[in-house]
Symmetry: C2
């Protein structure tokens, strides 16, 4: 079980250590026959290379940091989960870095992961990413961001088409007969959040009803309170994300309003949780799993040939039970 090192295998196979190394790391560089023999011996011994030693020598490791503000927001949780999968499949280990939106923490993680020779990192921001902050760190130059970020020239990005998503929600509501449609932006101050808000404003042509533009967890709750206090209420609400939608519905209902009988609500994210909300949430689904693996692809691509990709994914409308035609 123990003391299994490259030299042990080399001896057992009757070759030099460097040949064993090549058999594993650069198989083409060794004669097929030799390679197979070495690999077989290694296998029999139950030997695998030490990622630590490899990282130290190569100055590049397989640790990849996923930097997120938190992981209790199911959006980030789903992201973390699918990325952990995708990372594992590709031979990386996902190191979870939770920042609580604190830039200092982000900096700490960046330097820590740097000294771990992380080949690149993934950041899903909770606020507008300050590229200048990121790029103070070496690793900051090898990061892919899950947010729009305007086709940044050096930072690859993955996002879903926010504008399209809001449009989907809007059209769904219009087709149901809604004319006054409110909006609640919640939780984040990312570029993506901005895009969604802008898209809403454009669609609302001249008559936007923005219920709360706060950027924290409680936005949904506050928006609902505002809504209740209004005299000329909208008949439907689009929430910038599912968590905000949950909050809105929760307090709306507590105030005696019925969803969707009195107000329709559509979310944005497509969290699995939405399916078991009460009522099941109509929402714009983001392909979160795809975002995760694409993020890794982009990072590898940039490392390979320097190309900076910007992928924009298509959202999809999930019609469930929180929307209906306007009452009377």
């Amino acid at each position: 079980m123990a003391e299994l090192s490259i030299d042990v295998v080399a001896k057992a196979a009757g070759v030099h250590r460097s040949t064993v190394s090549r058999a594993f790391s650069r198989p083409e560089a060794v004669k097929a026959e030799t390679r197979e023999h070495v690999l077989r011996v290694a296998e029999e011994l139950g030997y695998t290379m030490s990622p630590l030693a490899q990282a130290l020598r190569r100055k590049t490791s397989t640790f990849i940091p996923l930097i997120v503000p938190n992981v209790t927001n199911p959006f980030f949780a789903e992201l973390a989960e699918t990325m952990s999968q995708a990372a594992g499949d590709r031979g990386y280990q996902l190191v979870l870095c939770v920042t609580n939106g604190d830039t200092g923490q982000t900096a700490g993680y960046l330097t820590a992961m740097q000294s771990l020779y992380a080949p690149f990192g993934i950041v899903a921001p909770s606020t507008r990413v300050d590229i200048d902050t990121l790029t103070q760190f070496d690793l900051g130059h090898r990061v892919v961001v899950i947010d729009r970020l305007d086709d940044h020239p050096t930072v690859p990005t993955v996002t879903v088409d926010s504008r399209r998503g809001i449009q989907l929600a809007f059209e769904h509501l219009r087709s149901l007969g809604h004319r006054r449609i409110g909006y609640v932006s919640g939780i984040s101050g990312t570029h993506t959040a901005q895009d969604r808000m802008d898209a809403y404003r454009d669609l609302a042509d001249g008559d936007p009803i923005v219920l709360d533009s706060g950027a924290d967890t409680e936005a949904g709750e506050r928006a609902a309170a505002q809504f209740v206090a209004m005299t000329d209420r909208p008949t439907a609400i689009i929430a910038a994300n599912d968590m905000a939608a949950f909050g809105v519905i929760s307090v709306l209902t507590a105030q005696g309003l019925r969803v969707p009988a009195d107000v329709s609500v559509v979310g944005f994210d497509g969290l699995r949780l939405g399916a078991r909300f009460n009522p099941a949430l109509t929402t714009v689904r983001q392909p979160i799993a795809d975002m995760g693996s694409i993020a890794i692809d982009l990072a590898e691509q940039k490392a390979a040939d320097g190309s900076v990709g910007h992928v924009v994914l298509e959202p999809e409308l999930l019609v469930r039970a929180s929307t209906a035609g306007p009452s009377a």
Copy 2:
């Protein structure tokens, strides 16, 4: 920014490499004056030791795997989040290992983390942990489990008192006037889940109404369907965990039943999400943050003196809006 190694610092400070090493790793072993000088020089240079190199030499690293079935269940998400905090505070890096309940994956993570010289690991099981499986791996002997596990002689554990939690829920419901109280066990087949179920059965003295004892995500939904089909329905339901409670409420409501007017529902977990459910969920809170840091403490303790701790935490009742007196 680059090429900063222990030798660079040694030269700059005019001492030998081993003195620099000691200044950082065994400060008592070096004269105060020397130490301060070395540390100051290092600081000025912006030097920190390479965790990778240290791990390789010491044969122990600061990577600690958190092995969970998933992270989209908010219970595990909250656990991961608080553990990531706790780990970071203590100089560890949390490596997220999502198993999807697959034993093969667990095994893979165990060996991978082993070769990373992980000093120990934390596992939060989704099913009864098979200790024999764990202990096939070296790392499996240095794991702490978040589940009851009967005061295992070699595996430290943290749990909350399940029996007490169910009792809290039960008493709350009784005090509200409920006499027929149903139960839905959901999601997991852990020892903890078993304890909760047993506790319920004991309290229900002779008249347990178990709605669904399935172990998957949909238990809540199925339980609700069963409930609706019953002729002599309970007036209240205890769910073995919050996710199941969400499911129950969601479909109960979709079927036209009102919570809590027609049925009271209490969950178990105390997820933050419950506060913004509709209605806000009455639930038994587990001190998840405490569980995370205690798990690390137990692991360190065992490493230090071999002692195997078993900590049982007290749950707490969180009364919110999903419970009320029985109707008429």
